[in-house]
Amino acid sequence: MKATTDSFLVRALIGLVFLLVNIVSVYLLLRGHNLPGGGFIGGLMTGMSFILLGLVRGWEELQRELPVPPLRLASFGLLLAMITGTAPMLFGRQFLTQYQLHLDYVPLIGEVHIGTPLLFDIGVFLLVSCITVKLVIVLARSTSGLPAFTPGEVPYYASELEGPIEETANKEDRHAN
């Protein structure tokens, strides 16, 4: 099954759509602390944008063009969130205590109010978006006849029988009792 679509319009516009979706998702991420939004929702949106990209350009190419392995970035996000939570404990405050910084005037932007919750949210954002991307890539690849993992990933993630689903389903069961 070919995963790409042949519509010229979609192919031409996907870059723009990808950009727009991600602008909205970063906006959601930044407003998240005091208003509806935040790392989780932003992360889901970014994940969706990658799914769109994969549907249009093909999963092979998407995987090739990802700058970093998604699972590493996801672990890094989790680590960032945990460090933000843990750091106040070193100063004898409660886990997840937040510190705020209010600047009355920053050139070009104006009034800025930032705090450590933003770091936590960025961690969650990375975690959610990267896990989504990873899950969808693995699923989409194995249902479209491609091996789920690239050769470089196999020693890290793949179990013994990993392969395109249709293919292994027809093989005899190697672990028959």
Binding site: L71, R72, S75, F76, L78, L79, M82, G85, T86, M89, G92, R93, Q94, F95, L96, T97, Q98, P155, Y156, Y157, S159, E160, L161, T168, A169, D173, R174, H175, N177
Partner: protein
């Protein structure tokens, strides 16, 4: 300032993340690191338990936000007991998995995921907030889905599917229940819910929330009409993980049932208790019949989990202080015994290269120590005095007689006898009979099997200590039950702390 309370959750998460980020490949160094971390979690849990039993419940306001706005972590007696058990079993299973699989064959994500599973389980014991409990369940379940299918082949994945479907349904229902609880009580903080539920006793909304939560936690615990996902999915796990799943996952359901009935809801939901008790009776008998019908070790033991869950739910259904204490004692006994039986099965499989009873045999001669451990744990599970299972069952049946619930008592006794029958089935198949002609056996006991036997022996010793020191452990269970059944104490501990956004 009780920042220590977050560590039982934080340490496993950090361990998992560090493993994923910096040591992606399995190796001896990584194994040592994870073992040290697991031992540290264990020590921390025992330290918290000592403090929880000598002080009022320990509370941590996360981020310094006062309840009911902020999320609180609470450790009281019961939570501390559960933390100790989960970390001890996790340590045993991690060490066992080192012996079970050589370094080169280890799945790289297995131990990090196991640590995330521990983190989710610990968080669900710690939390004092309904939505946070949902999050903890999700962490636990996502890790367990991944672990269940990580090393599975196609047929195993088919067995994992009901587990996934039923638990996702349960999670969705939990979310609905949490939303409903918020609309009925206007809060998700457990202490605050208990305060408001007490004021609105007899309200229909309280009953609806309670019933929904019972269904959700019943699915997690594996109570009668909702248990069929369990007995077929657990046998696909490797033994070391199966031991942890069978010990801890369903017991999280029991813990939250105890917590919601003991601390959160007013103690007058009599119809619900009665319904639970009858469901528990059915669970015990039907599941033990399933166990008798199976012919491989993992299958028999998996059905037994459900059957034993029946005893704990039965104790919750009786809902007297003694019954709750018996339930807590039973949980302590059950987690250790059930995990060690799974690990004994794993060692037996190591000797025979299969756990199909028709093709096993000769283990009594091959490893008398293992056989001794098995017979002790099997009798303990069935409830033969003076082993640990006897005291739990004795107390539960005593309460049943006091309450004149004779049919349920009969069900409990029948289930005990059938438990013994199915345990003897394993004994005859794996240990007593000679190795059949088509069976395989490793004639030389390698070093790995010796390590496994040592771990099993340690767990058996703990279980013997519970049996012979029943007075001490029952005392602990009673202390925990008393504080569990005293919502006022819990509320006071939670609301006595001041923080940002307080009332």
């Amino acid at each position: 300032m009780n920042n220590l309370l977050v560590l039982p959750f934080l340490l496993p998460v950090l361990t998992a993340v560090i493993c994923c980020l910096f040591v992606g490949r399995p190796g001896v160094g990584r194994r040592v690191f994870i073992a040290i971390s697991a031992a540290a979690q264990c020590a921390l849990a025992f330290y918290l338990a000592v403090r929880a039993f000598h002080e009022p419940p320990l509370v941590l306001l996360m981020g310094g936000w006062a309840p009911p706005l902020g999320v609180v972590l609470v450790v009281d007696g019961l939570a501390a007991i559960m933390l100790c058990l989960s970390t001890v079993v996790a340590l045993a299973c991690i060490l066992f998995s080192y012996a079970e699989i050589p370094v080169w064959a280890e799945q790289p994500l297995r131990l990090p995921l196991m640590q995330l599973l521990v983190a989710g389980i610990n968080l669900s014991f710690l939390t004092g907030d309904l939505f946070n409990l949902f999050v903890a369940f999700e962490i636990m379940l996502v890790a367990s889905y991944a672990l269940l299918t990580l090393e599975a082949n196609d047929r195993h994945i088919k067995e994992a599917f009901p587990y996934l479907a039923v638990n996702m349904f349960g999670s969705a229902l939990f979310l609905v229940a949490a939303g409903l609880a918020y609309s009925v009580f206007g809060t998700l903080n457990l202490a605050d819910i208990s305060r408001r539920a007490e004021a609105m006793q007899g309200d229909f909304g309280v009953m609806v929330v309670a019933v929904l939560l019972v269904v959700v936690f019943g699915i997690k615990a594996g109570v009668f009409p909702l248990y069929y996902w369990l007995p077929n999915s657990y046998p696909i796990l490797p033994f070391s993980l199966g031991a942890f799943y069978s010990g801890m996952l369903t017991k999280v359901g029991i813990y939250v049932l105890l917590r919601t009935f003991g601390t959160v809801f007013p103690h007058n939901l009599t119809q619900l208790y009665t319904a639970l008790a009858w469901l528990a009776g059915l669970t015990m008998v039907l599941a033990v019949l399933g166990a008798v019908s199976r012919n491989f070790i993992r299958g028999i033991l998996s059905f037994h989990i459900v059957s034993q869950i029946g005893y704990m739910i039965l104790a919750i259904g009786f809902f007297t202080p003694l019954a709750i204490a018996a339930c807590i004692f039973y949980v302590i006994h059950h987690i250790i015994v059930k995990s060690s039986l799974f690990l004994i099965g794993g060692t037996a499989m190591f000797y025979n290269r299969t756990d199909n009873l028709a093709r096993m045999g000769g283990l009594l001669k091959a490893s008398p120590i293992l056989a001794t451990c098995f017979i002790i744990q099997a009798f303990s599970l069935a409830g033969v005095p003076p082993l640990s299972g006897f005291w739990g069952k004795y107390a539960i049946i005593l309460v049943g007689l006091e309450e004149h619930r004779y049919w349920l008592v009969v069900a409990a006794l029948v289930a005990s006898v059938l438990t013994l029958v199915s345990m003897l089935k394993i004994w005859m198949g794996a240990f007593w009979q000679k190795l059949p002609a088509d069976g395989t056996a490793d004639p030389e006991a390698p070093a790995a099997a010796r390590t496994m036997t040592a771990i099993v022996c340690a767990l058996t010793l703990i279980s013997l200590a519970i049996g012979f020191g029943a007075e001490f452990f029952f005392g602990i269970a009673q202390t925990a039950a008393t504080s569990l059944l005293d919502p006022a104490q819990y509320r006071e501990a939670v609301f006595s702390l001041t923080g940002k956004g307080g009332q």
